[in-house]
Amino acid sequence: MLELTGLRRTFGDLVALDDVSFTVPEGRIVGFVGPNGAGKTTAMRIALGVLTPDAGSVRWRGEAVDARVRRRFGYMPEERGLYPKMRVLDQLVYLARLHGLGKADARRRAEETIEVLGVAERANDRVEALSLGNQQRVQLASALVHEPDLLVLDEPFSGLDPVGVDVLSGVLRRQAANHGVPVVFSSHQLELVERLCDSVVLIDRGRIVAQGTIGELRARRERRLVLVQVRGGADEWYASIPGVALVEVRTDGAVLELAGDVDEQRVLDLARASGDVVRFGPMHPTLAELFREVVSA
């Protein structure tokens, strides 16, 4: 388990991180979500020891992270980077060795990794000769090549085509499920995060604003929304119910917000009294909606 506790980091007057704490348990995929400039990259850099926090700690399996432990982490930085003139395979072998693998293991793993990521036929090309998508795959390979104990990936899906997205999703799922590797990645593709992640950490302006499983996030939010569609009844049948307010009118019904003490069964009764209820159910907001709510708050 990776634990970030009370991280704080400033750049001059800018507070990039303010008391940021979250954990990435073994075998779980955690999505790290927030608007641009919220502090995702800073937090990830600190987790990898590339940047030092002003306060707070990074612990791995209960112990403070030092250089030797960090060597077993896999990292994909936001600023992609490889040696442009080095051949793909040589590059991965070199990086694997820097991460502590022996010569033979490094070579075998480098070959396996480019196979899995579908760039095996470019093994002897210089990185600069590859398309951007393939460079991205090699970049991912460099994070995976040493069979890391932990994966920290900054925007790993950006720049990938749909096939690449599927390949990477599969790789991350296998890493977590088969090998128990904790995975944390940041992304702006929220549907992807929703589909792939066991839990989500939402950060805004350097502060964690929400975290938990998607279900927990939905449950925890203060607004209770129901979507109701009534055929034939009065247009604003809900207007007179105390504690009920209209949020928006959609083609598939009206979204109502219920105050804490309102019994939804009573609202249903009133709806039926007004006409034929075609649709009545709790609104599950998408992650994107949660995100917008939390971030704009």
Partner: protein, 410 residues
């Protein structure tokens, strides 16, 4: 991906710098620029050595026509000319001409370098200075002999006046017969060492920028520590510098021995070793600073400005070292050979010329090693603080402040 490697839970990372060094060494060994620069250096040295081996044996030779009204005077002058030319090691062929016009025509056509007509030395558009000097000397001797003869001196007395060496040379210190040769070797050696120190220093700086500009440095630093990356880079590039310098020195000495350009190869080998040792120490001293200047900027174009202070220091050291070839005992040479900023270039010169005392050498080494011990951690911290900051030029103060603290495992 299913059978995972059996990892040591806490693998040691001590060898990381060696991996970096090996990569940097290999990549540059295969670099086209490396081969071209080595080739140019070898070619220049070859020309220099061959010139030294075979160029010296060409003695100046002149054809002089002589004519005039006084036959006896002409004969005497011709005899003195032969004498003086032999003494000076100049090949001089003197021919007698009956006719002034013909002699002048021969000068005009180039058959004669000059014609001596009575007291007049006639050249085409000029007369070679050596020839003028010879003729002048011969004239003086003829006149002195005539004056002595008139005064009643015997031929043996005249001979004694003209040919006894007037000045005996005595030196207070034992004379070093090889000093000139050693100075020549030291000049080439210091030129090479300067080029090497500068060239390989720049290579360190550009290597740092390459990693910074391609952003690969962030990946590297997630695996190893800044200090390991810096140490590996300096070691790898420095090793290549040593190998190249040793190779060039071996080639130059070998060629000199084969062609006979050097009298005593053992001194040359000694000087080469001294220069190599001081190159290693000097490179260790400067390389960290080059790396810092590379880490402060983000693009190659900005490097030139960032390197100005170091370039200036190395260039001034080189300049002083060239001066030390002439005056190795001047206060400037002595101070420069001891201060760590300049000793890498200045001290080998003074050692080669035999003017450095053991105490000065010991002090110079101690200061250079101490300076390196002080500068390397300093450079490592600045490098670590600056190398991840892209965008504009990083200020030294900011680099110092933002260096990652290594909590004791650094």
């Amino acid at each position: 991906m299913n059978d995972r490697l059996a990892h040591d839970p806490r693998p040691t990372d001590r060898g990381a710098w060696r991996l970096v060094a090996m990569r940097d060494f290999r990549v540059r060994l295969r670099d086209k620029g490396f081969f071209i620069s080595t080739g140019i250096t070898l070619a220049v040295l070859t020309v220099f050595i061959l010139l030294r081996a075979f160029g010296d044996e060409v003695t100046p030779s002149f054809d002089l026509g002589i004519t005039g009204t006084d036959e006896v005077e002409i004969q005497r002058t011709a005899a003195e000319l032969d004498d003086v030319a032999e003494r000076e090691g100049v090949e001089l062929r003197v021919g007698f001409w009956d006719d002034v016009e013909e002699a002048e025509a021969a000068v005009r056509s180039g058959r004669l370098d000059a014609a001596l007509v009575d007291d007049e030395l006639v050249g085409d558009d000029s007369v070679p200075a050596t020839l003028t000097q010879l003729v002048r000397n011969a004239f003086v001797r003829v006149r002195i002999a005539a004056a002595l003869e008139t005064g009643g001196a015997s031929p043996s007395e005249i001979d004694a006046v003209l040919n006894r060496p007037a000045v005996e040379v005595r030196t207070l210190e034992p004379e070093d017969p090889d000093r000139e040769e050693n100075a020549g070797i030291a000049f080439i050696a210091v030129l090479l060492a300067y080029g090497q120190l500068f060239g390989y220093g720049v290579w360190v700086a550009t290597g740092v920028i390459e990693e910074k500009a391609s952003r690969v440095v962030e990946i590297l630093l997630s695996a190893i520590r800044p200090r390991q990356l810096l140490a590996g880079k300096i070691a790898g590039i420095g090793l290549l510098g040593i190998v190249q310098l040793a190779f060039i020195a071996a080639y130059a000495i070998g060629l000199s021995v084969v062609t006979g350009a050097l009298d005593i190869p053992s001194t040359a080998i000694g000087i080469a070793l001294v220069v190599l040792v001081w190159f290693v120490m000097g490179f260790a001293f400067y390389a960290g600073l080059f790396a810092v200047s590379g880490s402060l900027v983000s693009r190659m174009e900005e490097l030139q400005n960032a390197m100005v202070p170091i370039n200036l220091i190395i260039f001034i050291s080189f300049f002083i070292s060239i001066g030390a070839l002439e005056s190795p005992d001047s206060p400037l040479s002595v101070v420069a050979s001891i201060l760590p900023f300049s000793s890498a270039l200045a001290m080998p010169v003074r050692i080669a010329l035999g003017s450095a005392t053991p105490q000065q050498i010991a002090l110079s080494i101690s200061l250079l090693v101490a300076g390196t011990a002080l500068f390397v951690p300093l450079s490592a911290r600045l490098y670590a603080g600056a190398v991840l900051r892209t965008g504009g030029r990083v200020k030294l103060r900011d680099a110092w402040r933002s260096a990652p603290v290594t909590n004791g495992q650094g």
